[in-house]
Symmetry: C2
Subunit: 357 residues, 2 copies
């Protein structure tokens, strides 16, 4: 029997993915031209499926990139002239900040591991505010109402939100942000190699203005090139066609379950997970004291005495969890709770944990 993956990178596949891959093979999706009609109608189905599932405003753009990492770079290249501001709550928010610095922007940051930190004032000069809504490295989750409030406080600034490991669960009001991105191998339970960037009309306009003004942007993945092809239901390059196809299929499958139901089930499993550790394994604690900031999709627990033996034991039981990230590598375990996961998966996890002295 194959193990159950509770990992954060590639993770458990969403049910039906193997079947969709077989269909893709049977229907020659892996041989179709990326400039032909069959591709275009598949592309349209995928973007429309995503817009419906996530309630993305009709006038927002959906661009396809290769990874969440690429999305960070493209956002900075396309939307920041001089200065960005980053709420930093772990390694991935730090990486976004590093990206902006490396691309020669005046990247400002503020440590934001508490509610107060996440409401720290944004410097006047910042054109872009960046939230890592679900910080995969630490398990800190930014409550979406803080992001929605920022829109009201800073109506002139662009807002970018990393929802790499919280989409589609996160109930973000996309109309309140300008850029949001996720990669498909987490909450959508797909093979890695594709990311989705959601772009507001004004962020696209900003990109065009910056490009006209001569600010260095990339070429093939500049927003206006991406838009030019998106209008034809195409991408500038030959994309990950299989990934696009599978994303459309999974968006449809999720739509059948219903996004409200997916969120409700995710919450119920998250409650069960945190509840289990609190009651049964109080020696494994969450280092996030404010419960409202604890991730619902990628929980991190500090394991007294080091996490390696626990991870090894679980693996022996057919359960793969993540180690900690970065400097917490040895001390944390991380457990994902994506739409692909079931109550039965968590029951198996809890049973295995019960056996760990």
């Amino acid at each position: 029997m194959n193990p159950i993956f509770f990992t954060q990178g590639q993770s458990k596949l969403y049910p039906g993915v193997p079947e969709h891959i077989r269909t893709a093979l049977a229907e020659d999706v892996l041989s179709m031209s990326h400039r032909g009609e069959a591709f275009q109608s598949m592309y349209r189905r995928t973007t429309e499926g995503l817009k419906t599932l996530l309630a993305i405003p009709a006038d927002y753009h959906i661009f396809f990139l290769s990874s969440g990492t690429e999305a960070m770079e493209r956002i900075v290249q396309n939307c920041v002239n001089r200065s960005s501001f980053h709420y930093v709550n772990g390694s991935f928010s730090e990486k976004f900040h590093t990206t902006a610095t490396a691309l020669k922007k005046n990247a400002l940051k503020s440590v934001a591991e508490t509610r107060e930190g996440l409401m720290a004032p944004v410097p006047e000069e910042a054109e872009l505010i960046v939230y890592t809504q679900n910080e995969t490295s630490t398990g800190i989750m930014v409550p979406v109402e803080l992001i929605h409030e920022a829109r009201k406080r800073y109506p002139e600034k662009l807002i970018a939100v990393d929802i790499v490991s919280s989409a589609p669960y996160v109930h973000l009001d996309y109309a309140s942000v300008d850029l949001a991105f996720f990669s498909v191998q987490k909450g959508f339970g797909l093979p890695a190699g594709l990311s989705v960037l959601i772009v507001s009309p004004r962020a696209l306009q900003r990109a065009k203005t910056l490009k006209e003004g001569g600010t260095s942007v990339s070429w093939y993945h500049s927003f206006d090139e991406l838009e030019k092809y998106a209008l034809k239901n195409q991408t500038p390059e030959t994309p990950n066609v299989l990934g696009l196809y599978l994303l459309g299929k999974v968006a449809e499958d999720m739509q059948k379950v219903g996004i409200a139901k997916i969120r409700e089930m995710t919450d119920a499993r998250a409650d069960a997970l945190y509840g289990y550790f609190e009651k049964k394994r109080p020696q494994f604690t969450s280092s996030i004291l404010d419960e409202s900031l604890r991730s619902r999709t990628t929980a991190a627990f500090e394991v007294a005495g080091g996490s390696a033996p626990l991870i090894r034991m679980l693996k022996g039981e057919g359960i793969v969890v993540g180690s900690g990230y970065g400097k917490q590598k040895e001390s944390h375990i991380r457990i994902s709770n994506f739409p692909a996961h079931t109550d039965a998966d968590f029951k198996a996890l809890f049973q295995a944990l019960d056996a760990f002295a």
Copy 2:
């Protein structure tokens, strides 16, 4: 029965790919972490398999990107300070030139649709010479000896070679060039969404020097970031893991056949293809007068009176060929001859063509 794809974008899958996908599913390749040991050993197998198959020098670097289009941009960003020179023989060489211009380089070019054109002198100021060795849009092939000679004439300049639609067939002496790139959905018969960039030690050094000098490069796919992760058998971002796995498998499968045999069979089929049109369909001509410049892997033919009826008829017979590209869209057909194709495929093609009045 599924049609036979002779297309240039995604094309016919290499034999065994569906089986490898099934194995990948069974072995949880689609759930494995891109930072774990299983991934690293898979990565190493893939790079070593490619190096063996293509006889790439041991000290050359292999970097994985998302598309051939991305490779063009990364080469310019990483290796050109001020000026590049492009031999232009169709739309893709033109696109490389456009990329360099868009990235604010002084991109020079020379029309190179004949042997003389391909030997036009390279301007002094160019730091990089770019060949589109197999121009997919027109079917013009640059004989590799011209590239090898350029190395001797211009030992100080970097040489980049687009082998997007000729690898692994093209018998390039990689030690004579600095940068070569291909995408996996053509000659390797794989699903799209991955490209391979081969980089010489001195090209990597050039990239590092330019970066230190403050020339704008990208961040996550700057060559030194790519190298940093490649040394750990990893990529900076979460990559197309399935694509990497399949590429390694197909490189091994091709190694079993033998690269010499693959080249020999490709040549035999190319001879049969051009021979067929010359003898049986002289009204469909190659617009490339110099036979030594006719592509062996992506042949283009001009169809008197327009190509649409022929393409439609072939499709009805279960044979999918490409239309022309760009301004030849209506007048050309293009027929790929990749390692995935068999004598039987071509026999079916010729039979269908026989029936076309």
